[in-house]
Amino acid sequence: MSEWTTQLSFSFRHLLKQRGMLAAALLLSTLQIALLVSANRLDNFADTWFGLLHVQMILLILLTPILFNAVWSGRVQVFESKTILYYLRRTESYFLARMLTVWLVLAGSVIVFDTGFWLLYAREADSAIWAGAVLQILLTVGYVTALSGFFSLMLRRTIYSLLPLLIYLLASLSLIEHPMFALWFSPNLTEQVTTQPEQIAARSVLMIWILLLMIVNAAWFRRRTVR
């Protein structure tokens, strides 16, 4: 069994043990679905869908570092260094596995809930809207997770990464408003970024930032832990 699979499986197990935090995160990001359904605001499904995505993304951006903090405090503890990293040829697998797990669990579960909502209520709506939303969730949560990892290494406390992310989010909503660089957008732009091909292509550049951040994070963690 490779180091990567060992680290990924343990990270999943560790994250799934944070049941209260996971439940709170999922409840917050899916509560609106229940509210929308109970308020019977489904006449214009596409508008409702974009509104839902907009609020979900803002909540997810703030929840990601909190959840990441549950599996990575920002500092290598003595027991981690002397009894876990001790056996790893590639110590960065320990850190990257935690980031990947948070990304996949958080984005994956929201996608599952949203897809359920889509299947139940979308009726005639264009399925490209669903696909666009799934892509936005994956890219945005991945970007926020990679940024949380970066800030956690920089600030040596994962929870502190909430502050720069909040500032970045506010700047994104009011100033940046560009799919390549913004954490998220104002409601008007949400629909364009989810449906227009050129905006989707620009937003996909986020994948490059995610990869670059992961590489930087991995090198930084390795430098801090290899003895």
Binding site: M1, Y87, L88, R89, R227
Partner: protein
């Protein structure tokens, strides 16, 4: 495993270890020294977690850089104050350590975990979360993780700190059992831990080896030098050199003082020396006694 430490020196801000050498191939070696004597640094160097500035450590004739991860897989290490993720169960934690040590078959992992849990007396607590365990139980999980893969060299650093007397006694018993077919290096500043477990002793003082050899020879080195004085008060000659005093307690007649000296003062009787007496003598002789 034959462990050979040759002229190991290490400096951080000041010199921590200075020319440490010793060899061992089986049984428990007690590593004794005051706080700051260099015990943890020496353990980290032997565990391959730190590099010596000069000197080398050989594991069955191999040095760390020849095959670092193969050597590490033959070492079990229990660091000071072992800890783990609070919400992970004992069984899950050990399963993770099995995977880290490349035990890939599920059957083999299951067998290994059961064997180690029985060995450390935690089989009943296998489902408990790590955060819900007592200090002694956590240390037992620590020793179980170190034992996974049956390492030929077991390094335990201050394992009994914070344990209650029952837990300490049980832990010493466990270490004695584990030493039957491997080298165990037990670092501590608690003399009693060594007296109850070790056949050999390495005494560190200010980064240097003050003694390496068997316990009985070490204790015999202070025969005829430990005395007990009974009188109305502590004599002036002892008061001037308080580091010669091993213990002092008030009695109905005045005081009872145990001390080290080549020649006794009046009203003193010889006392059977213990490991603690020998240790205090060894680590103080350079300053006061001579």
């Amino acid at each position: 495993m034959k462990l050979k430490v040759c002229e190991v020196s290490k400096r951080y801000d000041s010199k921590v270890l200075d020319g440490i050498s010793f060899e061992v191939d089986q049984g428990i070696v007690g590593l004794l020294g005051e706080n700051g004597a260099g015990k943890t640094t020496l353990m980290e160097i032997i565990a391959t977690l730190a590099r010596p500035d000069t000197g080398k450590v050989e594991y069955d004739g191999k040095e760390r850089d020849e095959d670092l991860y193969a050597i590490r897989r033959r070492i079990g290490y229990l660091p000071q104050k072992f800890d783990f993720f609070a919400k992970i169960s004992v069984e899950e934690a050990l399963d993770y350590f099995c995977r880290l040590k490349h035990i890939s078959s599920p059957e083999e992992r299951k067998r290994e975990i059961e064997e180690k849990l029985v060995q450390v007396g935690l089989i009943e607590h296998r489902k408990k979360q790590f955060g819900a365990l007592s200090g002694g139980m956590k240390q037992r999980v620590g020793i179980a993780q170190a034992m996974i893969g049956d390492p030929a060299l077991l390094l335990v650093d201050e394992p009994t700190v914070g344990l209650d007397p029952h837990e300490r006694a049980a832990f010493r018993q466990l270490l004695s059992e584990l030493a039957a077919d491997r080298v165990v290096l037990l670092s501590t500043h608690i003399v009693e831990d060594i007296a109850m477990t070790s056949e050999r002793l390495l005494v560190l003082h200010e980064g240097r080896v003050n003694y390496y050899g068997d316990l009985s020879t070490f204790i015999r080195s202070v025969e005829g030098k430990v005395w007990m004085y009974r009188g109305p008060s502590v004599p002036e000659s002892l008061r001037r050199r308080p580091s010669l005093i091993l213990s002092s307690q008030a009695t109905a007649e005045g005081v009872e003082v145990r001390y080290i000296a080549e020649t006794p003062i009046e009203r003193s009787v010889p006392v059977e020396p213990t490991l603690e007496h020998a240790y205090m003598y060894a680590n103080r002789k350079r300053t006061d006694y001579e």
